[in-house]
């Protein structure tokens, strides 16, 4: 008979797991060789990787960085690696990198886009890392360092160099005291950026910004009497009126009284990543609020608002972006007073923005639909009005749900900026590459420009993707 009572008199020390259960062997067995099918897949994978490496590696290893032309590249490869060997010819990038970055932007003015690019991060930081003193300081420090070096390299005039460093220094100091106030810089940045890029009178950005002051002023003056929706509409209407009819005369008048400004650069001199980033960043910035408004409009009880939003969204989504770009001039000409000559880049920005906004509206609508009714009801029951309920309760949650899809749309938008090649703008992928290959020296070069441009696109898009993952993690509060 077994004895039911049992007492352990000796405790067992922990032992290392058997070999098959630990480390590399276990990992290999579980992940690569867990069955005959998996084993075959693993072997096929290894063969494919081997084949790719063997066929591409020499090309990378034989890279040539110093040459005058493609034929010279080939001679060097033949001389060092033997006849018939292949090799990448990065010498082309070394000679033409600036066209990929700046297009035909005048070299002595490169410092302006460089400065705008550096300050872009200073402007984005308070939005991307709101209230995080340490991250903000780090980013602003990096921006300062970047400007210190690159503005020096680009040969910026002393005044601009010092002014930008003082500005960044001031922002760093501001972060330590009142990080929230950094958003003021974000608010004026668009005007500053466009002034730096296109140049012209100092009054151009100031008068353009005053349009927003008109909008806000009208809103604040009327909101007490007419309620938020009506006064916002009137504000927007007045601002558009300002930009269309008053902006140019006022700017001209002011400029004739007090001069001063930067050399003007025409839109057809823009190209490469300067163009892609200008269009991409502007469109991303403006498409999100428009997309939110469209999504809310689509859910509205007001029939006219709803119909307009649905019509707009479905129209834009139903038409290829290229069609919109082609008809950009025609379409916009209908809505603008006759005689206005609309800048091609601005035209493209408006269309890309609207295009992305329509997609975002649907993405955000998905987020809104995912919220339980109870959230709306609780907000109502607490006495929050429509706009406060949206801003404080509904949108934060809906946008959070939609982050992955929103960022996907942004990434798509950014890559779609290369489509502006079709309306004659010099995008980095097709436009610049075509110009480079039209040069007798680099005729026939194929992989190198695409790999270079592709790599830069990848870095930017991967950055966006990582940021979205960070944001998702940071905002995760449901603890499910």
């Amino acid at each position: 008979m077994a004895n039911a009572s049992y007492v352990r008199d000796q405790m067992l020390p922990p032992q290392a797991p058997p070999v098959s259960e630990a480390g590399v062997v276990k990992w290999l067995r579980e992940n690569l060789f867990s069955g005959w099918f998996n084993t075959i897949l693993t072997l096929v994978g290894v063969v494919v990787i081997y084949w790719l490496v063997v066929s591409a590696l020499p090309w990378w290893l034989n890279s040539v960085w110093n040459a005058e032309s493609l034929s010279q590249c080939r001679e060097i490869v033949a001389a060092t690696a033997g006849e018939g060997a292949t090799g990448a010819c990065w010498a082309m990038i070394r000679e033409r990198w600036h066209q990929f970055i700046f297009g035909f932007y005048p070299p002595e003015l490169w410092w302006r886009p460089v400065m705008a690019f550096g300050l872009l991060f200073a402007a984005m930081a308070p939005v991307l890392f709101a209230g995080q003193k340490k991250n903000l300081t780090l980013i602003l420090g990096a921006v300062g360092l970047f400007l210190l070096v690159t503005l020096g390299l680009a040969g910026a005039p002393m005044g601009g160099w010092i002014a930008s460093l003082v500005l960044v220094g001031g922002l760093i100091a501001l972060v330590q005291v009142m990080p929230g106030r950094l958003l003021w810089f974000t608010a004026i940045y668009p005007a500053l950026c466009f002034w730096l890029l296109w140049g012209g009178s100092v009054w151009t950005p100031i008068v353009a910004m005053l349009g927003f002051v008109v909008m806000g002023g009208a809103y604040l003056a009327l909101v007490g009497r007419l309620g938020p929706t009506a006064s916002a509409l009137i504000g927007v209407f007045l601002a558009v009126f300002w930009w269309l009819f008053l902006d140019i005369p006022i700017t001209t008048a002011l400029a004739s009284m007090i001069g001063g400004g930067l050399d003007q650069v025409d839109s057809d001199q823009f190209g490469g990543f300067l163009l892609a980033i200008t269009i991409g960043v502007t469109a991303i910035t403006f498409s999100l609020p428009i997309g939110i408004l469209l999504a809310l409009g689509r859910q509205s009880d007001m029939l006219i608002v709803k119909t307009l939003c649905v019509g707009f969204i479905e129209f834009i989504r139903g038409v290829p972006l290229i069609t919109l770009l082609f008809t950009a001039s025609l379409l916009l000409q209908y809505f603008l007073p006759p005689g206005t000559n609309f800048d091609i880049i601005l035209r493209v920005i408006i269309l890309v923005t609207l295009f992305a906004a329509a997609y975002l509206a649907e993405v955000i609508r998905g987020g809104l639909a995912a919220l339980p009714r109870g959230q709306y009801e609780a907000a109502d029951a607490l006495g929050l009005d429509y706009w406060r309920a949206q801003r404080l309760i509904i949108l934060p949650q809906a946008l959070k749900i939609s982050i992955p899809a929103i960022v996907s749309t942004f990434i798509g938008l950014f890559k779609d900026t290369t489509l502006v090649a079709f309306v004659g703008l010099m995008d980095p992928l097709k436009g610049v590459t075509q110009i480079v290959r039209a040069d007798i020296d680099w005729k026939g070069i194929y992989w190198e420009p695409y790999i270079f441009v592709g790599a830069i696109f990848f870095v930017i898009c991967f950055g966006m993707s990582r940021y979205s993952m960070y944001l998702e993690r940071k905002l995760k509060t449901d603890h499910r």
Partner: protein
């Protein structure tokens, strides 16, 4: 029910009218969900509404803060008639607190932020003061230590108590409860009911849809029985439970009390 004897000293019903509903009708499409509702609630009254599923209990109390719109008749809350006038609706909603079956806390905000949001944005209370008020009510519902957690980290009973505190932070004069305990486990039901009893003891005007008959007997001064969108019977709890008049009420009580 609750261990301690219920203190009825402050549970005074005044003559002042808190809610007046007269000849109110409501339809969902063609479905006549509330039929000729007449009801007066005095300040300080604790009313329990019960009835079979689908009888319109939720719809009725949701009409009182205009989460649902009625099509006929009149609803006057604290002297303000509910019409399409948004100002009136906002006024009533800031006077009337509501607690839902599924809590409906805001999952992206901490408990404290849940409680301070409406006072700050609707009542324009300074943040500091709103936080003090919130902590006061969180202590009252006995979870001040959870203030900085998120709703997802709390148990159901705790969440419902936060929801009650959140409503109280708006200093409402009337509280509506729509089956506040029916999504909870038994031991959590008790902690929520205790909170509600405390509220009743302080003289709050309460309308409560619930099937907790113990609560009704202990706290309510009137029980309303609804069926098919109508008020079928109302009486003080003792009479209502011991001596129901209508056949429907008898049937309902026998089902719910299990005898």
């Amino acid at each position: 029910m609750s261990e301690h004897a219920i203190d009825r000293s402050k549970m005074k019903v005044s003559d002042e009218v808190a809610i007046q509903i007269s000849a109110m009708n409501k339809w969902y499409g063609t479905f006549h969900v509330l039929r000729d509702i007449n009801m007066t609630v005095q300040r300080g009254e604790r009313i329990v509404i019960c009835g079979p599923s689908g009888s319109g209990k939720s719809t009725l109390i949701r009409c009182i803060n205009r989460l649902e719109e009625h099509q006929q008749g009149q609803i006057v809350v604290d002297g303000t008639e509910l019409t399409n006038d948004l100002k009136n609706i906002d006024k009533v909603r800031s006077e009337v607190g509501m607690v839902f079956q599924h809590f409906n806390l805001f999952p992206h905000l901490t408990i404290l932020e849940n409680c301070t949001l409406a006072p700050i944005w609707v009542r324009k209370v300074p943040k500091k003061e709103a936080e003090e008020t919130a902590m006061h009510f969180l202590r009252k519902v006995k979870i001040p230590e959870q203030a900085n957690k998120y709703p997802g980290q709390l148990s159901g009973g705790q969440q419902q108590r936060v929801a009650i505190a959140r409503s109280l932070c708006m200093r409402p004069r009337i509280m509506l409860f729509d089956e506040p305990t029916s999504a909870l486990d038994p031991e959590m039901i008790k902690e929520v009911l205790d909170t509600m009893i405390e509220l009743a003891e302080e003289g709050m005007t309460m309308l409560c849809v619930t099937h907790e008959m113990g609560f009704a007997q202990a706290v309510a001064n009137r029980v309303i029985f609804m069926d098919q969108g109508q008020i079928v019977e109302q009486n003080e709890p003792k009479e209502f439970f011991n001596n129901p008049k209508s056949e429907r009420t008898k049937l309902f009580l026998s089902q719910i009390l299990g005898h």
